[in-house]
Symmetry: C2
Subunit: 175 residues, 2 copies
Amino acid sequence: MRVLGVDPGLTRCGVGVVDGAPGRPLRMAGVGVVRTPADDDVPRRLLAIEAGLEEWIDTHRPDTVAIERVFAQHNVRTVMGTAQASAVAMLCAARRGIPVILHTPSEVKAAVTGSGRADKAQVTAMVTRLLRLDAPPKPADAADALALAICHIWRGSATDRIAAAVARTRKEYRP
Amino acid sequence: MRVLGVDPGLTRCGVGVVDGAPGRPLRMAGVGVVRTPADDDVPRRLLAIEAGLEEWIDTHRPDTVAIERVFAQHNVRTVMGTAQASAVAMLCAARRGIPVILHTPSEVKAAVTGSGRADKAQVTAMVTRLLRLDAPPKPADAADALALAICHIWRGSATDRIAAAVARTRKEYRP
């Protein structure tokens, strides 16, 4: 299974591609950041994010796109940008028929470090170890995207099965 | 000037097209709602919103797209959906090189009723009067989209000039 992890953001969108399966060694297939200039207007920035993510998707052809789930309780400006960038990521995947799964930051931290409250350094250290990299992934921002992809590989198949079951139940019981 | 107003939302995206210029009579060229099923997943719903808005844009060919500016202080779930739908609207416009302007709900209310704290009934009444409609616009949800378009026609030219001046200044003083 190949997963593209996306840590959405208007200024920096972290992207990381990981190959693997539960109980098998993981392999990093790519890591990077899609950046947009802060002095451009938001519509143009979303367009640049779309172009960047489409290039990543078309180059690496992931089976699933895992995106960080956005919450509104933090800084207002940042959250809006994050929600907008994540909408673009969802759109790029949906347009190609690639399943999208959202994971919360604490699910991701718990998956790679064992603790939902791990700090950034701990996540980066574990990502480096799990992917058997010689040095922490660069750029540092993209470590979270790799962690998302790893989280999905380990949790994903179960999540997908549950989601499919829920969807079936809903359809069966729809009046 | 032809303006497409978009009142963004995941379940219902209000759309309204108005022709006009400051100091000239306004004319409604179209009104409607792009709906998506609540039990579809978010990526698919964003894809459906994209298809719906593209049809509105390509049919009516607006000079500007005016979108309601989203704030994060309200209900978390709703705000995320609204931010995501507005990102799709921005993307559709930007892809076609159509300028996008955001107006806050109170700017819109103040523009059409004279008060930034007017209620929904008052906004609908004024939209009906200003567009010389025989009855309140249907569906009711779309009255806000028409109000957005009217707001932009009346405020827009000044806003555009200010935005252009700011952009020029920024470029000149960039180190």
